[in-house]
Symmetry: C2
Subunit: 232 residues, 2 copies
């Protein structure tokens, strides 16, 4: 990735990543602080230009490794949308394919090359922070995609470790949606939906009450019928 600020001729293709995880029960996104112009010092989504012969997903995984020091192991990567309005990048015409990456317990990032700083931000506290380029729009788009995919897919489990309790799963929904859900109804719905959860014989260590049974992700990927955000 050429991070100089000179204008470049031709159309360039980039990927931008919205990396989401849960930290302390809040939805967090990984931002990097730009070391170079344009938008030097501003916070931005990790991203980079794709190289000739490189796959879009491949480029996304490369950026994940370079700028976020995250391996491809425990993340769910998915294309969101492509942004290509001329002028969105002052260096020239850049068409950027936005991805979202979801993971469980992602580590604090090491800062990569061309990056002044990198850290997790709670999406709630991000309202006032001006982001570089059109990344505020890209971020909104990815978050809305994640929120809606929780409704009709089993994607929520990607925010959790391999073994988890129903309460933890409910916590994912509550954190991502910013709502509260009825514990009993959620338990029934989650455990009775075919393919969502696989019951284990073990229990988690009690946290002040009755110990919760452990589950792991089931085989299914779609939730039918879906789990709807109530206050919609």
């Amino acid at each position: 990735m050429d991070s100089s600020s000179e204008t470049r001729s031709g159309i360039h293709v980039a990927v931008d990543l919205t990396v989401l995880t849960l930290r302390d029960g809040a939805l967090n996104v990984l931002l990097i602080q730009r070391e170079d112009d344009p938008h030097r010092g501003a916070w931005a989504l990790p991203g980079g230009f794709i190289e000739e012969g490189e796959d879009l997903e491949g480029a996304a995984y490369r950026v994940l490794a370079d700028e976020a020091s995250l391996g491809s192991g425990a993340v769910h990567l998915e294309q969101v949308r492509t942004f290509g309005t001329p002028g969105r990048d002052p260096r020239g015409h850049v068409v950027s394919v936005a991805f979202m990456a979801l993971g469980a317990n992602l580590p604090a990032p090491r800062r990569g090359e061309d990056v002044a700083d990198a850290r997790w931000w709670a999406v709630e506290e991000l309202a006032d922070v001006p982001l570089a380029f059109d990344h505020a729009t890209v971020l909104d788009c990815a978050i809305e995609r994640a929120r809606s995919k929780l409704e009709y897919t089993t994607l929520a489990v990607t925010f959790l470790p391999e073994e988890f309790t129903v309460s933890q799963l409910r916590g994912v929904y509550e954190s991502v949606w910013g709502t509260t859900l009825d514990a009993g109804n959620f338990h029934r719905k989650a455990t009775r939906t075919e393919g969502f959860l696989e019951e284990l014989d073990r229990h988690a260590a009690p946290t002040g009450g009755r110990p919760a049974r452990l589950y792991r992700a089931g085989e299914g990927t779609s939730l039918m019928p879906p789990l709807l955000r109530s206050g919609d």
Copy 2:
């Protein structure tokens, strides 16, 4: 658009369009027959390279005009997904942003430049036809998007003229989904869903039975609760 078959260096960005309409109660897609290599003589989705400084949507509308002789008036254009696997185009590394365009009563296409032929195909009869590049995948992706968006948006009306009957609207769902729906239940659902339909005082000419009231599209864009494909 350079349609020669020589390999080009650098990464190129294109748009590919899945233009859908209803003809004789069947979902049809517009394909063009390629005049030049690669895939000379094969049927393909209309598409073209974007020019520097050109918007993605702008490029899509330009292709619609050039290759399908369709104005931007009566089509709903929407981005679907971006395909960028190296090798999908033998000329070099081409990243293609797929769009779907939906319209009512779209005219028989004039063939544009670099196009040997252009015509509508019923998507049903397309199973055996080999398409150029990865366009079979792109087409499937767009059709599935259109099918699912009928469920939770008011998009179905874009397949109809400005004034239409509830039966015609039901016909859209039946054609696109390839199902049959209960006429009475559909009528209730469509007319009672807030923002979907706006009732007019006129009736359509009878077609062998009681004349149907005319409606036009309402203000709303989302269907809540959604209209689900039953056999899912």
